[in-house]
């Protein structure tokens, strides 16, 4: 073996590593724990970590009082809807860029990425006024349109990098064997591009779910997703820590789990290939 790592060194790093990891994770852990407390236990001094009366009442209350389920459904509609529309636009574009590149392809791609760098406040006012005039404020359709557009550059970019990894020779070989275009797509290309598309969908859903500029500015109730719903806890009435925690736990749990699968996609999608 090139280098023997001593057991002591490993144990030291285990202790430091876990301490740091738990410290960073603590606010999330604390939110989850608090969601199972009574409001009284949630603000007890000193704080109660594990020894309190575990209860599910907050989850029930949050649903009963504010119809939590409706906001959750909006989050699902918006993130899946914008991702689906995004795929319809992004797959053909990324496909063309990867398989029939022209000298201008690079410029087009860079230009697309540059639109992602446009600050949202630069276009907030016209978008708001157009939405108001067309009756799109607080509508799911309008918001799907915006979310799809802000994630489109990332989707094109991600798909492009995955498609580029598909070797062109395979296509030629299939063509030589007399495969028609439709056969070529269904039997050769589709299976090879599924992993890339899945990764893109994952990242797009995560980004759309957590988007909190346009959702806060363009929705109030009917189309409001969880980001907007949680924001309503910013002007609290009375005891609310446990209820805020229950609402928050439900809002972040699905994305946290998806997110843990998406470490690699995150680096790939958000750095635009600037880090290899």
């Amino acid at each position: 073996m090139a280098r023997a790592i001593s057991t002591r060194r490993k144990l030291t790093f285990t202790a430091i590593g876990w301490a740091v990891g738990l410290l960073i994770f603590f606010p999330v852990l604390w939110t989850i724990l608090t969601s199972f407390k009574t409001e009284l236990d949630a603000i007890s001094i000193p704080p109660k970590f594990l020894f309190f009366d575990w209860t599910l009442e907050n989850y029930v209350t949050v649903q009963e009082r504010s119809n939590y389920f409706r906001f959750m459904m909006n989050s699902i509609y918006l993130s899946l809807g914008s991702t689906f529309v995004g795929l319809l636009f992004a797959i053909p574009a990324a496909w063309a860029m990867a398989f029939s590149p022209t000298p201008r392809t690079k410029d087009v791609l860079l230009w697309m990425l540059s639109t992602k760098m446009l600050p949202a406040v630069g276009v907030l006012i016209p978008i708001y006024l157009v939405f108001r005039d067309f009756g799109l404020l607080d509508s799911r359709v309008g918001l799907i349109g915006v979310l799809f557009l802000i994630n489109l550059p990332i989707m094109v970019w991600m798909l492009y990098t995955y498609f580029k990894e598909i070797p062109g020779e395979i296509l030629e070989a299939a063509r030589m064997d007399g495969a028609s275009l439709s056969k070529e797509i269904t039997h050769v290309l589709a299976p090879m591009s599924v992993p890339g598309i899945a990764s893109t969908v994952l990242l797009s859903v995560i980004l759309a779910w957590n988007e909190a500029f346009w959702t806060l500015n363009l929705t109030t109730s009917d189309a409001a997703p969880l980001t907007t719903f949680i924001a309503s806890y910013s002007s609290p009435q009375g005891n609310f820590y446990a209820k805020l925690s229950a609402a928050s736990t439900l809002a972040i749990a699905p994305i946290l789990i998806l997110g843990w699968f998406s470490q690699k996609q995150l680096v790939r999608g958000l750095t635009f290939g600037a880090v290899k």
Binding site: A2, R3, I5, K10, F13, G17, W18, V20, G21, L22, I24, F25, P27, V28, W30, T31, A42, I43, P92, A93, S100, K106, L110, M112, L113, T115, M117, L118, P119, A120, V121, G122, V123, I125, P126, Y128, L149, I206, A212, F213, N217, L226, T227, T228, I230, Y241, L244, S245, S248, A251, I252, I255, G259, L266, L270, T271, G273, A274, V275, K276
Partner: protein
């Protein structure tokens, strides 16, 4: 000819995405530019006379504007210092081989997936509240005394919250860069008698330099647009202490209905972001060639 055919087919396939983004960027941006030259108030939308650069001179001579610019830059700089410094340390730690390192990695990247409104409200209430917050109780316990973050150091509080959200991003990217560093190079340096610190300084850090640059550029672009965290915790206050440029534009337009002035602010924000984007696009472009 086949190539001509594929070329026009390729154009056709790219057209929807290109047109969609073109409309999304060019149309609203030119509307913002146009609005910024009008005296346009939503209370009196019938009268929108052209006033040239007056909005800009008003906006740029407004003390609130300079406060917002200062807050925006402080926020970006503060978060960058924490996330880049902390990210390097954390990446070095997670690059080690220890028991459960994969689980610790998952714990450490979790904050990135917490939606901004949840992160902000959980930190404001359950972490930073001077009476019931965990940090306050801990500081009381060790005898330092609780801090009323949102009254006494509101911008610092926002910086801490945003840095917590972005630390995983820099860590992940720096860890990716770190993992491409060859073990042999480090071992050779060790053989030559280099200590851990000089290996870090002369080998590891230069190797990460490019990734660090990219982290700084990308984060700056996203951090210039921080909005939700301020919206749900402080609404820009107390006073203007936590008002950054995006929040100022929002307040000017949707709370004070001054479309012209807000548009001028929006254009300033675009220019600010473009300075950073210029360098980032160049790096990305170079990598696309390679």
């Amino acid at each position: 000819m086949a190539t001509m055919q594929t070329k026009s087919a390729a154009r056709l396939m790219m057209a929807p995405a290109v047109i969609a983004l073109l409309l999304w960027m060019v149309v609203p941006l030119s509307m913002t530019l146009y609005f910024s030259t009008l005296n346009y108030n939503l209370f009196n939308p019938a009268q929108t006379p052209f006033i040239g650069f007056t909005n800009y001179s008003f906006f740029l001579s407004d003390p609130a504007f300079f406060t917002a610019i200062r807050n925006t830059l402080t926020l970006v700089a503060g978060v960058l210092v924490i996330t880049v410094g902390g990210g390097i340390l954390l990446a070095l730690l997670l690059d080690q081989d220890f028991y459960g390192v994969n689980i610790v990695r998952l714990l450490a990247i979790a904050p990135f997936f917490v939606m901004p409104t949840v992160a902000a409200l959980v930190w404001k209430n359950m972490m930073m509240n001077p009476v019931y917050g965990v940090i306050g109780q801990f500081l009381n316990f060790i005898g330092v005394g609780a801090i009323d973050w949102f009254s006494n150091a509101p911008l610092t509080a926002i910086i801490i919250i945003v840095a917590w959200q972005w630390l995983p991003f820099s860590t992940l990217i720096l860890l990716t860069a770190l993992q491409s560093l060859s073990e042999e190079q480090k071992e050779a340096a060790e053989m030559d008698g280099a200590g851990a610190l000089s290996i870090f300084w002369y080998i590891t850090l230069p190797h990460m330099a490019r990734a660090i640059t990219v982290v700084i550029l990308i984060q700056t672009i996203f951090l210039l647009s921080i909005f939700a965290e301020i919206y749900v915790t402080t609404s820009g206050g107390p006073g203007l202490q936590t008002t950054n440029l995006p929040y100022l534009v929002y307040a000017q337009a949707l709370l004070q209905f001054d479309v012209g002035g807000a548009s001028a602010g929006g254009i300033v924000a675009v220019i600010l972001a473009n300075i950073v984007a210029f360098f980032l696009i160049r790096i990305i472009g170079k990598n696309l060639d390679a």
